[in-house]
Amino acid sequence: MTTIAMQVNGKEVTADVEDRTLLVQYIRESLGLTGTHVGCDTSQCGACVVHVDGKAVKSCTMLAAQAAGKTITTIEGIADGDTLDPIQVAFHENHGLQCGFCTPGMIMATKDMIARHGTDLDEKTIRSELEGNICRCTGYHNIVKSIQAAASAMAAAE
């Protein structure tokens, strides 16, 4: 067992966990933040993407202990009260989700994508940047559209 402390969605949290505990297990099972999902066991599907110190990572491929001392943001932490993040709005307005299971990872990946590339995103870049996120429902068509719309909305708000 090891004692870990970190900040999750703005709150300081501390827990004793087995050293083998994955970050995603800690987030889902100890913190009850079940918006972060597990869709595979080979680090490919991206349903588990969260931000660690502002960067998107796969929380199924990181130990909770590795995240000790760091700042974590999950899908539950990106809206400002009732005001949704523009990416959340764009996924809703462009039908960028169906079953919703991959969606938290997609949104967290999009946030990271726009942070790195800026809001001037072409389709090819978006498709290539989605390499680490698998969706089985949408055929990606409306996810790409959602990301473009989010980027435009964020550009307009700047």
């Binding site: 087995e18 083998r20 889902r28 099972e29 009850g32 933040l33 079940t34 918006g35 972060t36 999902h37 597990v38 869709g39 595979c40 066991d41 080979t42 490919q44 599907c45 349903a47 999950t74 899908i75 539950e76 809206a79 949704l84 959340q88 996924f91 809703h92 307005e93 039908h95 989700l97 169906q98 079953c99 919703g100 299971f101 991959c102 969606t103 938290p104 949104i107 389709e123 978006i126 498709r127 290539s128 989605l130 390499e131 996120n133 698998i134 969706c135 089985r136 429902c137 949408t138 055929g139 990606y140 068509h141 409306n142 996810i143 790409v144």
Partner: protein, 787 residues
Amino acid sequence: MGAEGLGARVLRKEDKRFITGRGRYTDDYDLKDTTYAAFVRSPHAHARIKNIDVSAAEAAPGVVAVLTGSQLTDDKIGGMICGWMVHSKDGSPMNAGAHPAIAVDIVKHVGDQVAVVIAETNGQARDAAELVEVDYEELPAVVNLKAAVKDGAPQLHPEAANNISFDWAIGEKDATEAAFAAAANVVSMDITNNRLVPNPMEPRVAIGSYDPAEEHYTLYNTSQNPHLARLILSAFVGVAPEHKLRVIAPDVGGGFGSKIFVYPEETVCLWASKRIGGRPVKWTSDRTEAFLVDAHGRDHVTEAEMALDENNKITGLRVHTLANIGAYMSTFSSAVPTYLHATLLSGQYNIPNIYAEIDAVYTNTSPVDAYRGAGRPEATYVVERLMETAARQLGISPVELRRTNFITEFPHQTPVIMAYDAGDYEASLSAALSASDYDAFETRREEARSRGKLRGIGLSCYIEACGIAPSAAVGSLGAGVGLWESAEIRVNPVGTVEVLTGSHSHGQGHETTFAQLVNERLGIPIENVQIVHGDTDKVQFGMGTYGSRSGAVGMSAISKALDKIEAKTKKLAAHLLEASEADIVIEGGQVKVAGTDQALGFHEVALAAYTAHNMPEGMEPGLKEGAFYDPTNFTFPAGSYVCEVEVDPETGRTEIVQFVAADDFGTIINPMIVDGQVHGGLAQGIGQALLEGCVYDEDTGQLITASFMDYTMPRADDLPNFQVSTTKTECPGNPLGMKGCGEAGAIGSPPAVINAITDAIGNNNLSMPATPLKVWQALQQTSAAAE
């Protein structure tokens, strides 16, 4: 069209919880005192269990119990069932071998359940599962269809000689033989339809919970049809009587067929919860387990021939298919290669003679059952590959060959059961050709050649049969259940509405589209409508969601219930307004006397129904109605797809540069959602054609593609933007004129892709998935032949 009524592009009501991380999927439920199950699974494709030693596992930290198949037998828990009886040509019933929830004597595929460990934590359960010592005697295994039916092949079930569960046929054999004898041209092909793994992004989960005081069970389950699960688990498996079993399927993260079936794991979780005294037992599949034990799809090997006369009219079609059913017959596995496949072999064409033989074959592989399209993609692939090949052999345009043979008059009775009710195949073909600028293709081919790329174009005109189907008809064909749907409308005293439906939404957007129907009929805003589904304690009964049926059948049931609500509302309003019932209309949330300014709000009528202070003579209080809707026929969505590809001849890599879909789904409730369904279907169909293929080692029976590291899931950069559009002929068989849209993309697209690639590379000998390796090898063949 109202802003929220039928045909409106309404944004989804269900989105908010998903985009904020507040969806509630089965694994998100954390019941008090939960224990965790880990299955011990067979590492062998075929082996005899000589001994199981659980002592070390039982002694491991945190272990609550270790259970095996013999205890399941002691408790008289039955095996898994196949719910559709199919008969062989000689009239004998199919040979469905036993399928115990936990193997007792023999394991028949890699991943077969051998024991279950229940522990305080998931980690402890998995640690202890490794300590269960199973002594196996390995038996020879067979995974290849053609090998499995040969004399001397390893045998899976004693009742199925040569591993054949049934050899079934449809159509007129002699007439078809005669058509071939008289044919001007015959086109023959060997066609393989590759095995697929459904892979919804949410893996399966089951939580079984037994309440000893009430002797009552609750199952939380990733299911597309919780009522069917309850029926099978109670009536056939015998875990619990139906009135003592509640099945809840909350938010479900995609299904695509794989969550229709009743699997061993949920049986075991329910049973084990009682065994350990009532603590909940939770099993969460990981992805590798999902590859091993979720039912797979497709896997046909087919010999197909088409006969044509001198005018290029098709005169006959002859098909012989070996269909892999895996090691056990899954819930609907018998219906897929038969009634959902061979009955669609007429395609969009007037084919006077068809004869198809289907042999269902056991192999040492995971069970095979319905996966998005279920039988219809296989039929479409046979027909549309034959059409393209015939056109090439005859030296005529593939468009013209199709036009020459289109069915143009409806209703049309095919020689293989189906009676097509309505359609306009020329309309969708023309729409697709025009959207794809088909006529200018050769210019694009030349331009690509100048860049060193091989460009090709391929067409597919598909038809499917959805809704599934009149209960009496499917009953006569062997179904163990009826395929109607039920609905209940509860109007609350304040005029808000709850719709209880037997359909199940796992991505399809029912909470929005079903509310749109209520808005259309009662005029109340969709935010005042709540769709309730997925809980057998709330919804009386339902047949669930599959076969593109929730619109055509599920919404028809809602429509029928709304008819009754409207009738009672009008009667009550007439009484309150002292008007004639015939003059009452419901519009925009108001109940009005036509042609006057007399009106009541719908909510006022609802309140009056519940206060019951002033009711017409004999009317019961309340405003709640239910309906069952049994379809009168299948529905027949159809369409035309055009795929254009560029192949890099040096690497064999294919890029889809354009994909056009023109579909006829009849009435559309929400075009945004329909487009989304088509996009998703296309991705799975293109996935089948280009990327996805489930491969077993032929010698050992090991699953080689057991994770996303080896099984290629379509990703964003594998796919293009899709150009989708619709044409419309209304379905005459249901009140809304709907046909269904969920499976079309997966059904129509594979042959379009392969027709395009084979056109590009000039070699028709190419199987799915057309990986870069296979395309490169086909190109090597082409150039070797040219030398």
